[in-house]
Symmetry: C2
Subunit: 368 residues, 2 copies
DNA sequence: CCTAGGATTGAGACCGGACTCACATCGATG
DNA sequence: CATCGATGTGAGTCCGGTCTCAATCCTAGG
């Protein structure tokens, strides 16, 4: 339409300088407003820039300032509203401080994560926020540290790395939730998680995810404190797609020594578990009690509304971004925030249904 | 720990060249493997690079190749699972093709969108995928076009811009859904959307969102085809936060001429609408029929399961990324894909409850 | 033994800004 | 009127790669 059209090369400071009849240096100063520039020159340069619709090349700028004003965010799965919300917290905060976010999804795959971190580092992000898929293999994260760029963890920790971490005290809330289930009389409590492992779960096994490890640890504590032994056969990992979650659910809810309560490790799992329960013709909480991690709005709409463990996910995202920005700007780290998850009792947990096993019954009676 | 520690400057080709005792040019060639390099040199350079743990600076590379291998994605709200899924489709596809994604949230705010596009352009993204907040003000989008970089729309169109668009035929599915409601006897059908407008809705008004405009148009068509007049007083826009959605819901469901069916424009709205309905003590579908856009997994868990309009969101994301990459690589655009939404009848739509108005009754009878 | 042509190689330009440095200019001071 | 510090200003370097171009090596053909 108007004049210029869509020619290739973009307008550079040099072009603006020429148009304004000043040196490149002066034009750069006027545009970046730094250094000393006379009023006359400034006006001419700004006018020329306007006329040529000049836009600075951020790449070139980053090139010699060393700052890209970009932060990298590496999460397991944005599709999961948990990360969606956290990401929202991060981007909101980053934007306010003038930073952009490059988002990378890893599908909780370690190789993908290693790759993502490397690429982000190569792109010269100013800092990284990572939800580490593995707390064991941390070589790539140490690389971040070695590159001198700040790093913040969200949701989970990794190894013994000394990194700011925004996460809730999982063991604590898990213990609390388990106590709640124990008080309701449940003894066979299943825990279902997507966490990929090679072996089946058994005590002492090293889990890749600190978060899941903590949850299980919390459960075990609760059992031990109640003088009961932890039913580790009901810890079900590797719950991948909807189908496998369904079959795992059926598995734990059938047989002679079936679970009477199920804990779903995240919202995605919860959906399939609840569906499977409904398909089995069981009702919540009369036949099976149900509890899940993360408080999504829809959990209030089911019948009954679901009892959940609410985490301040958005705020954790905000805090992660703030902590990172602090570090990037060389400020002293703020006091490490502690996030507390809360158990929201809504209605999917009920007393254990009286069944055929008299021995367990006695135990329950003793406790209540 | 090991040797190097955390010194400032990173290793550059020059450093590698020096270590390998070759010229910068040779080192660069060996590393980027282009040009001719003798086997001897190649080995030495690679070894040196390895030893110094050299990593290329993508910024510098982008600088003179002109390609940043980054695409910008501008959406209204990642927190909304609709965009979460679409984003997932985009990032999955982008990653496969070697591109990274810079994600920007606009909160459906035009100013924020303009800003986002500008920043992304300045960062030299190779292309942009945008869900335009406004189909009216498109200056900033024309700017993208002027910059010579490819642009693809997702979800909505904008003005008369000639841009690849990945979206479903909203008017069609809206008409179909409305017919379904009409056949169930409903005449007073409310439509609730977050779309911000200055004025109240009335026929002929220009809406910022092509998508919402199409949905309303589809409803109108269905009414007209059935020989009925469209109850435009039940088109409720500006449904912002949960509270306002609740009060709007109460408003349309009360009074002498209340709605007997409600259509929620997205998942977030749906949550509040359903809650409000429950709070009013009304039941779905006996008292009120309910229908919503987007098929989220949780819609199957409510009682009754919700009738929804399913959109192939993930695939639209994939297609958008593919189309963009095609353009970025100079390939001819593929045949424009058409995405079809489907009405998933689940159980939240029922026959209109017989009420005090005999005249409307007659009409319903005539139609069935 | 000499030479043409392909394989190698190094110097240096360049991408587009930021920034250093030496050199004016200019009003204020003594 | 000479001097000094505070601007203004332009030339040129640098960031870390890519890429051009001319020079140098080598080897097979004459």
């Amino acid at each position: 339409m108007n004049g210029d059209g869509a020619r290739r090369r973009d307008v550079t400071v040099a072009d603006v300088a020429k148009a304004a009849q000043v040196s490149k240096a002066q034009a750069a100063r006027a545009l970046g407003n730094y250094g000393a520039v006379s009023e006359d020159v400034r006006e001419r340069v700004l006018a020329a820039a306007e006329a040529l619709s000049y836009r600075p090349n951020e790449l070139a700028r980053s090139m010699n300032t060393g700052k890209s004003h970009t932060i990298g965010v590496v999460v397991g799965d944005i599709e999961n509203p948990h990360f969606g919300l956290a990401t929202r917290g991060i981007t909101d905060t980053a934007k306010k401080a003038g930073y952009n976010v490059i988002l990378v999804n890893t599908d909780e795959d370690r190789a993908a994560e290693v790759d993502a971190v490397r690429v982000l580092l190569d792109k010269r992000v100013d800092g990284l926020i990572v939800a580490p898929a593995s707390s064991v293999d941390t070589e790539h994260l140490q690389e971040v540290h070695r590159s001198g760029r700040p790093l913040v963890f969200i949701d989970r920790t990794a190894g013994d790395l000394q990194v700011d971490t925004m996460a809730v005290d999982m063991a604590r809330i898990s213990r609390e939730a388990t106590q709640y289930l124990l008080e309701a009389g449940h003894r066979r409590i299943a825990f279902i998680s997507t966490l990929r492992t090679d072996a089946h779960y058994s005590t002492g096994i090293t889990l890749e995810s600190s978060q899941i490890a903590d949850r299980i640890e919390g459960m075990r504590q609760a059992f031990l404190e109640a003088g009961l032994s932890f039913p580790e056969d009901l810890v079900k990992l590797n719950a991948g797609d909807a189908d496998s979650i369904r079959s795992i659910t059926r598995e734990v809810l059938r047989g002679p020594d079936q679970a009477t309560a199920v804990v779903a490790s995240d919202g995605l799992i919860a959906l399939s578990v609840v569906e499977a329960i409904q398909e089995l013709g069981l009702s919540i909480p009369a036949d099976v009690s149900f509890l899940m991690y993360d408080d999504f709005a829809w959990t209030r709409l089911t019948t009954p509304p679901l009892t959940v463990i609410a985490q301040p996910v958005y705020n954790m995202g905000v805090a992660a971004a703030k902590a990172l920005i602090r570090q990037m700007e060389g400020l002293p780290p703020a006091a490490p925030a502690q996030f507390t998850a809360t158990l929201v009792r809504r209605g999917s947990v009920g007393p254990r249904r009286i069944e055929e096993d008299p021995q367990q019954e006695e135990l329950a009676a003793t406790l209540s």
